[in-house]
């Protein structure tokens, strides 16, 4: 029920981000969602791509430090209050969100939010108990 995300360590030097996207582009890999967490010293680029293993191998070959993380993709009604509703459900059950970001494509009339949870198993249970829709990775990569 989870989605594969790759995380890449990026120094705060000019051109590194461009290099990553160039490398992926050169192999015909498509980025589906992207988030950049930055500090004054370095950044962590998180990507959901359509060919996870190829992306990881290619970036490693080019000298990047890459890791794979499991995240959860949740459908969110695309209207004001949609996200708030989901966060309330998680909050009430004491589920901690490490970070989140939006997906490029929509799913029907819904937006898709990517969540990283401390405890994904409990989070998934809480979400499904509350009849919230979780999307499989396979579905996302090709969307």
């Amino acid at each position: 029920m989870q989605v594969e995300q790759i995380s890449i360590f990026i120094e705060n030097k000019s051109g590194r981000l461009a290099e990553v996207t160039r490398v992926l582009g050169s192999k015909g890999i498509n980025i589906r969602a992207l988030s950049l967490a930055d500090t004054s010293d370095f950044g962590i680029l998180r990507l959901i791509v359509d060919q996870t293993d190829l992306a990881r191998a290619t970036l490693k070959e080019q000298g990047f430090t890459v890791s794979k993380t499991e995240v959860v993709a949740v459908e969110v009604p695309d209207q004001p209050g949609g996200l708030a509703g989901i966060l309330e459900v998680l909050d009430k059950s004491g589920i901690n969100v490490e970070y989140m970001y939006a997906f490029v494509e929509r799913c029907g009339g819904n937006a898709v939010i990517i969540f990283r949870f401390d405890d994904p198993v409990s989070a998934i249970r809480v979400l499904t108990d509350n009849r919230l829709k979780i999307l499989e990775g396979e579905r996302l990569y090709g969307m």
């Binding site: 995300q5 995380s7 360590f9 990026i10 120094e11 590194r16 967490a37 930055d38 500090t39 010293d41 370095f42 962590i44 998180r46 000298g63 990047f64 430090t65 890459v66 890791s67 993380t69 490490e98 970070y99 990283r116």
Partner: protein, 434 residues
């Protein structure tokens, strides 16, 4: 007119001085042979009995003692006196995370105070001076060494130690300090802080500054003298030998540091071959202590590069002079007066990561203060998807470096393979200071 503290010893003619040295060397060799298993073994292996030391030329037959010998003896195995005669213990940093330990008998402490008092007088300091002692107090020998010397001299010592510069400046003004003891770079930092606070050193009563614990140039001397309005003199010492007061520039000549030859024998050697070099040749300083009881050392390799001259000095002292230390024959760094070996940083990184990381130390100087940047490559072992985990890692490394080495550093996480690899010994340090 030169002022002396121990005129008879300081101006002793060479022949008499050398006769005294030989007698004291013989006593020292006999003492360590009898009381220190390490020396009994190494002298035995070299086929040397104490009775065979019949002239100063026999000194070069003795084997060297190196820092590793002191680390191996941790903590007390090189002591030549029982613990109930050891009244003081000092320590300096060691490369395996353990310090090198030295012990002093009551007589050693008295000798040290006498030599440090003599050292003060050599720089023109006298009873009645108010000594602002900003060397660190604690296990390091700097603070207490200068302190006891000042008291023996009868001067008034302010044991202010390091840090809190604003308060130091206030005390300098209000207490009327006439002598300053600290590292040369800290003195320039103080000058800068003073300037910003609107304090003019010409309004202070400082007359002499005694600066050491790190190498500094003639240019830096002119800079310090101009900014602090005092005579700036170079002092040399190391805890293995005693502490501060092993050698000192005289105010009369300001040209070379007199090493107190009635207590220390100095040789200059080729660091690669161990061959003893003639006067005026540059090489590694080797010191033999001839009056210490607690931890006497034979031919200790200091790793400091200098040269020796026995040319008579205008001050009238007959003890040989060392030229200003120009560097090290090992990879030790001195950062804000603290000795740091790259391998110590490496041990800390290995302990935290569990794998050998690739790292680079970049040393620089900003606003007269040394800075240390530790670049660590982020490989898959260390990498985490979470920013806070990486930041916590950097902070933990900085904290361990501070706790174990006493040095403030900034850790910069860098991408893999950005730190140059090399065939042989990896270049671990870039030192941008002049």
């Amino acid at each position: 007119m030169t002022a002396y503290f121990h005129e008879e010893f300081e101006t002793m003619p060479r022949a008499a001085l050398e006769a005294l040295q030989l007698k004291r060397l013989q006593q020292t060799v006999a003492r360590v042979y009898e009381k220190v298993p390490f020396y009994r073994e190494t002298l035995g292996k070299a086929g040397i009995q104490p009775e065979q030391i019949r002239s100063l030329d026999d000194l070069r037959r003795l084997p060297f003692t190196v820092k590793q010998d002191m680390r191996d003896a941790y903590p007390y195995n090189l002591f030549a006196a029982p613990m109930d005669e050891i009244v003081r213990i000092h320590a300096s940093s060691g490369t395996t995370g353990k310090p090198t330990v030295v012990g002093y008998t009551k007589k050693d402490i008295d000798t040290w105070a006498e030599l440090m008092a003599r050292t003060f007088v050599t720089t023109g300091v006298h009873q009645g001076d108010i000594i602002h002692n900003a060397y660190g107090y604690g296990l390091f020998t700097g603070g207490l060494g200068a302190h006891y010397g000042a008291e023996r001299l009868g001067a008034s010592v302010i044991p202010i130690s390091g840090g809190n510069t604003a308060r130091q400046l206030m005390i300098m003004q209000d207490f009327g300090s006439t002598v300053l003891t600290c590292t040369p770079s800290y003195s320039l930092y103080m000058a800068e802080e003073a300037r910003e606070a609107g304090i003019d050193f010409r309004d202070l009563k400082l007359r002499v500054g005694i600066f050491g614990a790190e190498p500094w140039s003639e240019d830096m001397r002119k800079d310090i003298e101009g900014k602090l309005n005092l005579h700036a003199l170079d002092i040399y010492g190391l805890s293995e030998i005693m502490g501060p007061g092993v050698a000192i520039e005289c105010i009369e000549a300001k040209n070379g540091l007199h090493i107190w030859e009635d207590h220390f024998l100095a040789e200059i050697i080729n660091p690669d071959t161990g061959e003893v070099l003639p006067d005026d040749a540059t090489g590694e300083l080797v010191i033999t202590t001839i009056t210490k009881e607690g931890i006497p050392l034979l031919r200790y390799r200091t790793r400091d590069i200098t040269s020796l001259t026995r040319e008579p000095c205008i001050c009238g002292r007959t003890h040989a002079r060392l030229t200003r230390m120009s560097g090290r024959s090992d990879d030790m760094l001195i950062i804000r007066g603290v000795n740091v070996f790259p391998s110590q940083i490496e041990s800390i990184l290995m302990r935290i990561e569990g794998v050998e990381p690739h790292y680079l130390l970049v040393v620089d100087r900003h606003d007269n203060l040394d800075t240390l940047e530790v670049q660590v490559e982020v490989d898959e072992q260390i990498f985490s998807d979470e920013v806070k985990v990486l930041q916590a890692l950097a902070q933990r490394i900085e904290k361990e470096i501070k706790d174990f080495l006493g040095v403030t550093s900034k850790v910069r996480l860098v991408e893999p393979k950005t730190i140059a690899r090399s065939e042989g010994k990896a270049k671990r340090v870039i030192d941008n200071r002049k």
